[in-house]
């Protein structure tokens, strides 16, 4: 759809987009992962810009990372060392896995940006002491960022930011719902681009662009043709491969939901109204579906995936993992078993920077979809 064009354009060349914003005098703070409190960055008057792997050939990062480091970490450092991220006024590293943890160190020692923040969130999210520690950590980030950017971040500014991001999250969720209800009205590739670019686009513009997309879809849904493809759910960390959606659709299936860091985990749950905005933001991280590098119970992720698959009436699940992503690889056997027990077929695809050849992928997906 044409409303998705500007999202595709950002994804195609995020560096130019970032530089252009910088030229307009914006402060830009780069960040990793969906545990970054974007609300605080936005409240500080800065622009939260999510960093992904550069997707280019690796020249610089191999001098810092061994071969068994994932492509996200390697590619992100490559982008920074190659100078592609020169528009950043700072970088924020929420603590998640062992590799991101070391990326932060190596970035701090080699990239030497103007502002480097580690948000060392608790690893377990199911105790009271972890909650109060998380609030402490967020408060500290708020203070550090304000002092670096020489601004004041008031509670009112934060509440306003929370409102903006809640709106964005609600819109993205609505987009997913529309797709799940009428899979034919928008391509998977478009949905992918919209969600991912939302993490980089100017948020004030985004709050207008998303409703425009949704408005179009609401209009279309009444006379949409019934889509006959088999409904599947994707699960994993981040997805860097829009082609996957097309290949899946060609194979006769359609992605109706996901459990991705660059998907539903980014928008699930709103920040609740609370006198203390930091406590409110922390509350959302505790409520929302977790990344496997966090702990909220030993069955929560399996139960959540099962819930998604059932609610969205999925016929099958495709696990899409980055090679060398330990937290996901550890959860895979039990999550697969959860699905097996309920008779939901699944397949697992492990990818690096480059997808396997299209022919190979096509065969794998066709075989899987035929089985559903």
């Amino acid at each position: 759809m044409k409303e998705a064009d500007e999202f595709h354009a950002i994804l195609k060349d995020p560096v130019s987009y970032g530089r252009k914003m910088k030229e307009q005098g914006r402060k830009i703070v780069g960040y990793f992962c969906s545990y970054t409190p974007e609300e605080i960055i936005y409240a500080a008057g800065a622009h939260p810009f999510r960093i992904f792997a550069s997707g280019e050939n690796i020249h610089f990062a191999d001098a810092h990372f061994q071969s068994y480091c994932c492509s996200l970490v390697r590619g992100a450092l490559e982008g920074a060392l190659a100078g592609n991220l020169d528009f950043l006024d700072g970088a924020v590293f929420p603590h998640t896995c062992d590799s991101i943890q070391r990326l932060s160190d190596i970035w701090r020692m080699n990239v030497k940006g103007p502002f480097h923040a580690d948000i060392v969130l608790p690893v377990k999210l199911d105790t009271e002491s972890a909650r109060s520690y998380m609030i402490d950590v967020l408060r500290k980030f708020r203070k550090d960022l304000a002092s670096h950017l020489r601004v004041e971040i008031t509670d009112d500014m934060l509440k306003n930011a929370i409102g903006t991001f809640n709106t964005i999250r609600r819109s993205l969720k609505r987009l997913y719902e529309l797709k799940a209800e009428n899979p034919g009205i928008i391509s998977g590739r478009d949905v992918y681009a919209i969600v991912k670019a939302s993490m980089m686009m100017d948020r004030d513009h985004l709050t207008e662009a998303l409703p425009a997309v949704i408005g179009e879809l609401e209009k279309k849904k009444g006379n949409a043709e019934l889509y006959a493809g088999k409904r599947i759910v994707l699960a994993g960390g981040i997805c860097n491969h829009p082609d996957i959606y097309r290949i899946i659709e060609d194979a006769g299936a359609v992605v109706v939901w996901d459990d991705f860091c660059t998907g539903s985990r980014y928008f699930e749950e709103s920040v609740k109204d609370n006198a203390d905005p930091m406590a409110a933001i922390a509350g959302r991280y505790i409520e929302r579906p977790v990344c496997p590098a966090k702990h909220a119970g030993i069955f929560t992720r399996g139960e959540n995936l099962l819930k998604i698959a059932k609610e969205k009436d999925a016929r099958g699940v495709v696990f899409l993992f980055l090679k060398f992503c330990d937290p996901h690889a550890f959860d895979y056997p039990y999550m697969k078993e959860f699905l097996d027990r309920e008779g939901i077929p699944s397949m697992m695809l492990e990818v690096e920077d480059q997808l396997p050849s299209e022919g190979q992928l096509r065969t794998r997906f066709e075989t899987f979809v035929d089985m559903l």
Binding site: V123, K140, A293, H295, A329
Partner: protein, 421 residues
């Protein structure tokens, strides 16, 4: 107390006798044998067993008379007995990726088949997971908590990229209280705080002794090698907080001091001194030790075994419990790469080494990612060469003997040239 069958009583008596016998001799192998026998018969003797991570706070367990068992130590045993590859393959057939930590893979597989050199670890009554060494242990212990269906306590030690923040201290300190409550519930009895204090004192004393043992290798020739340290390490990991550790390392220290006084080196002709980084390549320690000795090179120290005595400076002798929070949070693997590099530089100076051998360990990302940067810092600051060996601590499929051998030869040539030998 339930009436125990005769055979059980006989078995227990035998363990006691064995323990008494070995109390005099104090050989590592026997101590570990008794330890594992006790752990494996815990169900009969009515004691609880906790599985705990290698960097975890064990002292409260000892004080509660819970037997701590270390899956990582078990992983090392599996690796050293060359049984790792089979078990790793077994875990892969269970769906675990071959890129995952080989300690975790072999332990997860071992639990289902009771394999390995000691026929598997005793079933845990509880799991204590401290993530100060890695995030992998969290996932690994979640797997075991599902498998054994026992309570899991996560002792969360936030990573210290730079310094040590007060909110971290508050969080970790409050978890110590939660930990004690967890144990009291699991054991059905109160913690004896005097006993815990005594255990804490013993733990600190054990760590200091271990530090002193390792420090003897600053002498030239070194009275022992890092390969010896890998062996003697087992006690400070598994039994710290018990008097056994004090006795053992006191004797070992005396022995090393005596060797130093008499100028006896660990290898026949120590010409070159090297520092080891990362977890040993367990199935290949002997090969590697012979290979280096053939070049008259001695691994005099390492960053691995010293991790169990690296935070004594944070421990308050008179307030062990409170100070544990900082000591367990600031261990070697839970700090930034630049701070690790500083520690490596200190070791380079203290042990007067001519080069560093770094094991780039596919299994251990927090230990290995960052090594390239440390290598560059050391080469720049001290001008000594670093050799990087790509391998794995347990899984032999990641080890190429001919390649490593050639690289060691080339590395030793550089060192010989620089030393002008």
């Amino acid at each position: 107390m339930n009436k125990m069958p005769e055979i059980v009583l006989f078995f227990l008596a035998k363990i006691k006798k064995l323990a008494l016998h070995f109390k005099k001799k104090k050989k590592m192998k026997e101590i570990m044998m008794v330890y594992y026998m006790e752990a494996k018969s815990a169900r009969i003797s009515g004691r609880k067993v906790a599985w705990i991570t290698s960097g975890g706070p064990v002292e409260p367990l000892i004080a509660m008379d819970v037997i701590p068992v270390y899956p990582e130590n078990h992983g090392a045993m599996i690796g050293a007995s060359k049984m790792g590859t089979d078990l790793c393959e077994k875990s892969e057939s269970m769906g675990y990726s071959s890129d995952l930590c080989s300690y975790a893979r072999s332990d997860i597989a071992c639990a289902t088949v009771n394999g390995g050199p000691i026929g598997g670890l005793p079933r845990p009554d509880m799991l204590i997971c401290c993530n100060n060494i890695c995030g992998t242990v969290l996932k690994w212990y979640e797997v075991q908590a599902r498998y054994f269906n026992v309570p899991l306590f996560i002792f969360d030690t936030p990573f210290c990229h730079v310094g040590y923040a007060e909110e971290v201290q508050r969080y970790v300190r409050s978890q110590l209280d939660e930990y004690v409550l967890f144990l009291e519930k699991a054991c059905g009895k109160k913690m004896d705080s005097d006993h815990l204090k005594a255990v804490g004192k013993l733990s600190l004393e054990g760590q200091r002794l271990w530090q002193a043992v390792l420090a003897t290798t600053a002498n030239s020739p070194a009275p022992m090698t890092a390969f010896d340290a890998f062996y003697h390490l087992a006690l400070i990991v598994t039994l710290r907080g018990t008097p056994l550790v004090i006795d053992y390392y006191t004797q070992l220290l005396e022995k090393m001091k005596d060797r130093v006084a008499r100028g006896i080196g660990a290898i026949p002709n120590e010409k070159y001194r090297l520092l080891w980084d990362n977890i040993p390549i367990w199935p290949r320690t002997r090969w590697l030790s012979e290979k280096l000795a053939s070049h008259n090179a001695c691994l005099v120290a390492d960053t691995y075994t010293s991790a169990w005595c690296g935070t004594t400076k944070y421990i308050d002798e008179n307030n062990f419990f409170d100070s544990m929070a900082e000591a367990y949070t600031r261990i070697y693997l839970n700090i930034g790469v630049d701070e690790m590099a500083r520690i490596v530089l200190e070791m380079v100076d203290m042990y007067k080494v001519d080069g560093i051998v770094m094991h780039s360990n596919r299994s251990c990302k927090p230990y290995s990612l960052g090594q390239y940067d440390i290598q560059k810092i050391v080469e720049k600051e001290r001008g000594i060469p670093c050799l990087m060996i790509e391998a794995d601590m347990v899984d032999e499929r990641s080890f190429s003997e001919s390649q490593v051998s050639t690289r060691i030869d080339a590395f030793m040539e550089i060192i010989k040239e620089r030393k002008g030998a």
